[in-house]
């Protein structure tokens, strides 16, 4: 690829960062998404741990869970927003008549999601340190970076699933953008270890990368959930899902061009 083509390709990725950023900064709801709901959720659970007089390790266990969930929620919604904004504005056809590749669309929206959710992480980790004495730097910078990367990749996978559903089912699927992460929080052990779940949920949890990333980071705070090679499993599954979903996205986009969904969603 020549440098001019590379520059064009990067500009096309940047287009989606630009779009999501401008819309998010003008949207009160989007500001609530990164400031209000995560902070309210965090303190609600944090004060619950105080009331239950949990020891610092258990408090850490739960706070790591709630912060991870907020990071994933904010990051994945940005990936989903790349289609949702167009869907709500009925401008989907203008995006897809442009010569953009699906990976550019997904990557651009994921990048802005990473920025916004990293901000959420910073905010909540400062609060967790000040209010509940949980130090996120305790495991060290390396493990923290790996943990965050795992969360961002999990979010990419969840967001891509929502995008696929949107192209398949249109407006009917936009509820998935908010409900998917809730479902994951139930299965992946945000507030509890997965082994307390009834069959078959612990087995299902093992197919979700977040389970391994949580187990990895919590292990530095004295919790061992009995999983082996957690990073390999976590990154392996996340990578696999992202590749499969990228292919599926192309397939459903082709289907949307065949069935007329792209046109219908722009009317």
């Amino acid at each position: 690829m020549s440098s001019s083509n590379l520059q064009k390709a990067l500009t096309q990725i940047w287009a989606f960062v630009f779009k999501n950023w401008i819309i998010a900064k003008r949207n009160v709801f989007a500001i609530f998404e990164i400031l209000f709901w995560p902070v309210v959720g965090f303190f609600s659970v944090g004060f619950l741990t105080s009331f239950l007089e949990l020891d610092p390790n258990k408090t850490g266990f739960i706070l790591i869970g709630i912060i991870s969930m907020s990071v994933i929620q904010v990051c994945q919604i940005d990936v989903a927003y790349v289609l949702l904004y167009d869907l709500w504005s009925k401008s989907l056809k203008h995006t897809f008549i442009a010569p953009v590749q699906s990976f550019q669309l997904l990557l651009g929206s994921w990048l802005i999601g990473v920025v916004r959710s990293f901000f959420v992480f910073l905010l909540l980790s400062v609060f967790s340190s000040l209010a509940f004495g949980l130090d996120f730097l305790q495991p060290g910078i390396g493990p923290l970076v790996l943990f965050l990367l795992g969360l961002f990749l999990t979010a990419a996978s969840v967001g891509m699933t929502v995008c696929i559903l949107l192209l398949l089912f249109g407006y009917m699927a936009d509820v998935a953008a908010w409900s998917f992460s809730g479902l994951i929080s139930l299965i992946c052990g945000i507030y509890y270890p997965v082994f307390i779940l009834p069959f078959p949920f612990p087995q299902i949890a093992q197919a979700i990368p977040l389970t391994y990333f949580l187990a990895y980071f919590r292990s530095f705070y004295g919790f061992d959930e009995g999983f082996k090679n957690v990073l390999a499993w976590g990154f392996g599954l996340a990578g696999l899902y992202i590749i499969v979903e990228a292919i599926l996205f192309k397939v459903v986009l082709h289907r949307a061009r065949r069935t007329g969904v792209l046109i219908k969603l722009s009317e």
Binding site: Q7, K8, A9, T11, Q12, W14, A15, F18, K19, I22, I23, R26, N27, Y85, D86, W88, S89, K90, S91, K93, H94, T95, F96, I97, A98, P99, V100, Q101, H254, R257, R258, T259, G260, L262, I263, S266
Partner: protein, 323 residues
Amino acid sequence: MALAIQAEGIFKTFRSGWWKKREKQALKGIDLQIEEKEIFGILGPNGAGKTTLLSILCTLLLPDRGNVHILGMDSLYDGHQIRKRVNMVSGNANFLWSLTVKENLHYYGMLYGLTGKEREKKVETLIDIFNLKEHQNIPFDELSTGMKQRLSLAKSVINDPEVLFLDEPTAGLDPDVSIRIRKEILSIHRERGMTVLLTTHNMKEAEYLCGRIAFLKEGEILTTGTAEALKRIVRIGDQIRIEFKGTIPEDELVRADGVINFTISDHLCEIIVDEGEKRLGALVAMIAQGGAQIKKVTLGQIDLEDVFVEFAKGTDSDMGLCV
């Protein structure tokens, strides 16, 4: 002249419903050839399949059967390459609501890979050309319908397309705004020399803008030709109205060259001829020589609307010709 758009045997059926499948055949074997730099109109009533056809040609929709070549490239395999060289405008323009005019143009410029200063310059130029300066910082959802459509036109040329698709570009606009938009379309075409494919159900618009027109009805092209040629095909011709005193020589009128039909009532004779200007002198002379005293003569030209009405009446007539 090379072909910009070539479609052969395009079929499209839409299927809907989960349990009870419903099918609607939107296109039934469309063949179309549009030359480079031509403004070509697809005219037809609502539900004729105009938007479906345009969507297939601009790669937003895939046909069930048939071949589409845009600028020599196969739309099924070279969709991405085609998209670099085409663009579209749709009626009821819709863009990202909370982005301003300028931000929307920047966003679409980025989607077409325009970088840094090149994009900045392009956006400024388009804002100037389309008189959007005063509105450049206003969010899309606060613009008037006319302004939205103007933005849509500006966006449609951001990548200097070689083929521009216009899907009912003046739908829902006030008449004065529609006239302005049509002038802008002509001006874009004149300056840039791109191929334009336009769908409309507005006969005046098609007649004003298009070199050639295809009539589409129930998914089939009934005929293709210039506005003038189509008027000739339906054989409803021009109308000569003659107010007179005395007697009209009916026998001679029947035999006169170019007369398609005539009616005579109370000192008014209405004659339908193939070409009004050509036949007018001879007919007036013939009637005057036949003994009638002519008081007033008017020549009325039919417009495309009359042709459209004739076509919309049915397909059983002998109109299925290609001119």
